[in-house]
């Protein structure tokens, strides 16, 4: 599977799962549907971007760094919207970004060299 | 001895030959190769005096022919060298029985002198790591075979007018320099000594060694019966470890 598609799927999947963990926070339980949709979408977008980066830059360490940074950034925006739970949102968000980066770099199929 | 057999026929076979000359030559070679090992072994194992040991050694070779002991030799079961040593063992055992009978009657105390001489010999050779009479037997056999080969080389080179070749060989490989046992004359020294160029010295030495090698291997073939025995004895002769 190519890196972009892999990034999309992993990002969306992890995003959905991450969103579901909001169920453990009673105050936001009622908005769970919205949280999951938003988180999935966020993960999808991040995943595609990470996949593109991984394809362009054939370097595992660089992709990991990029994934972590992007995950952190997106999580920050979400936390801003809430106005609270910054740490609890950003830290797992960074790990999810790191995981997506690892998955695309390690398991994604290398882009075929274009014929001259 | 001026006639050299061209064949590499085993001595064991030649000793039974119909040709008197061939028989005599074979026995002479056999004796040359083995009398020193037998003598040393008899002295160390049997504890005999020099005269007794010398007599017994002569007797051994006489009986070897008289009783045709070589007829019973089976190359597939043992080496010739071992077979002969075992025969010597037998002879020594019988002799000591005879001597003990005398001792009970006479009580002659000549053994102490004899022990000293043997002890000195053993001390002398202790540095070469030999300890048992069997080891001495082997070492003396090696020495005898090499000595015999050197003699043959000398005779051959003299007969073909190549005395200088043997001279160079002898000076470089045989003589012990005065002082250190390791220091050998240089090629320059030899060139001066024999009135030839250094290149000649190198060539003559190489040729002599080549001849020597052929002679000693031929000699060994005479002293052995089978190919396997030849290879095993060659290892012992040249001090080579058997393959792992």
């Amino acid at each position: 599977m190519n890196k972009v598609l892999l990034g999309l799927l992993v990002g969306a999947g992890l995003g959905a799962l991450d969103g579901l963990t909001a169920w453990f926070t009673p105050e936001v339980r009622s908005q769970i549907a919205g949280i999951v949709m938003g988180s999935t979408f966020k993960g999808l977008v991040a995943g595609v971007l990470i996949g593109l980066f991984a394809r362009k830059v054939e370097s595992v360490p660089a992709t990991l760094a990029f994934g972590t940074a992007l995950g952190l950034l997106f999580a920050y925006f979400v936390a801003r919207m809430q106005g609270k739970y910054y740490f609890e949102i950003m830290l797992p968000g960074a790990i999810v970004g790191l995981l997506t980066g690892y998955a695309t770099a390690r398991y994604g199929r290398r882009a075929r060299p274009t014929e001259a | 001895m001026t006639h050299f057999p061209d064949t590499r026929r085993s001595l064991v076979t030649a000793v039974k030959s119909g040709d008197g000359d061939e028989r005599a030559r074979a026995l002479e070679t056999l004796a040359e190769a083995y009398w020193r090992p037998v003598y040393t072994y008899v002295r160390l194992k049997g504890g005999l005096q020099h005269d007794e040991a010398a007599d017994l050694t002569q007797e051994f070779f006489a009986r070897l022919v008289e009783k045709d002991w070589l007829a019973r030799f089976d190359a597939s079961r043992t080496r010739l060298r071992t077979y002969l040593r075992v025969l010597v063992d037998g002879l020594v055992a019988n002799e000591s029985k005879a001597r003990n009978r005398l001792k009970r009657g006479g009580g002659i105390k000549v053994l102490s002198l004899d022990l000293e001489a043997v002890r000195r010999e053993v001390e002398e050779r202790r540095s070469s790591g030999e300890r048992s009479p069997e080891d001495f037997f082997e070492r003396e056999w090696v020495r005898s075979v090499f000595s015999l080969a050197v003699t043959r080389l000398r005779d051959r080179t003299t007969a073909s007018g190549q005395e200088k070749r043997f001279g160079v060989f002898s000076a470089f490989d045989l003589e012990e320099a005065v002082g250190s046992a390791d220091a050998r004359p240089s090629y320059q020294d030899l060139a001066l000594r024999f009135g030839m160029t250094v290149v000649d010295v190198t060539n003559q030495l190489a040729a002599a060694r080549r001849d020597f090698r052929r002679i000693i291997l031929d000699l060994l073939r005479e002293l052995t019966v089978s190919d396997a025995e030849f290879r095993a004895e060659a290892r012992a002769l040249f001090g080579v470890e058997p393959p792992a």
């Binding site: 790990i95 | 020495r143 045989l174 060694r209 291997l217 060659a234 040249f238």
Partner: protein, 300 residues
Amino acid sequence: MRLKDAALDRLRDAVRTPDLSGTRYRLVGPVAAGGMGAVYEVEDEVLKRRLALKVVDVPLDGETPAQALLGEAEVLARLEHPGLVPVHDAGRLPDGRAFYAMKLVRGERLDVHLARVPLLPERLRLFLRVCEPVAFANSNGVVHRDLKPSNVMVGPFGEVLVLDWGLARSVEAREFGDASGTPGFMAPEQAAGGPVDERADVFGLGALLGAMVRVPPAPFQPKALEAIVVRATAPDRSDRYPDVPALAADVTRLLDGERVEAHAEGPLERAGRLLRRHRVAVGLVAAYLLTRGLFILFRR
């Protein structure tokens, strides 16, 4: 005449030392004394380089060992591979002894080298490098027949060389019948003196692999590895890997954490293998779950 001990030793040495007069080589010193021949270090005076010269050792004097040595040279000369010692010259010395000159190998024997390789993956990678020249020779119709740790050298740059092709035979040749080889590393059909094919080398390599992982400090041996060794050293050659590349492929699978052909793994084993293989991803997921879990707990 009576020779003194010193003279005797000199003469013995003089007889054994190869006569290099008139050749392009100058003797430097002895290197090793093997089963078939002695190896000396020499200097090639034309090209000014050091070589190894293998000569029929004196005790073996005769036509058969000479032909065997020259046969070995021929086999090596035909096969050009980084894992095989290149042969530069062969023939007879002035004293009649057969010889061949080859690259001087500086390095250490495999079993000695392994004492410094404690990890299994490294040993397996080393083993794969041994398989390469053997597979190459097999594909050219030559079977080594004497593979063992003492016949493998590891050079200073980690390069692996398979030595001592003295028992090697062409697969087509029908004149077998000699049961030579090394017990423990010799395939049963070879010990019986019958015809052999590349599966004899599969056996030899299997036994070699088994030996390689037992040299102390011996690493832990997974069941899959044992299964590979068992299959490679099966007494009936039809039960072994069909050739050396197949054996190497299974070892590669083991190294990559994939399922090995020789071993049927249970579900638990499989789960363990997959976990090990993807341990980074598993670790990251665990980290995520841990972080989330901690936050939830703290909230309570």
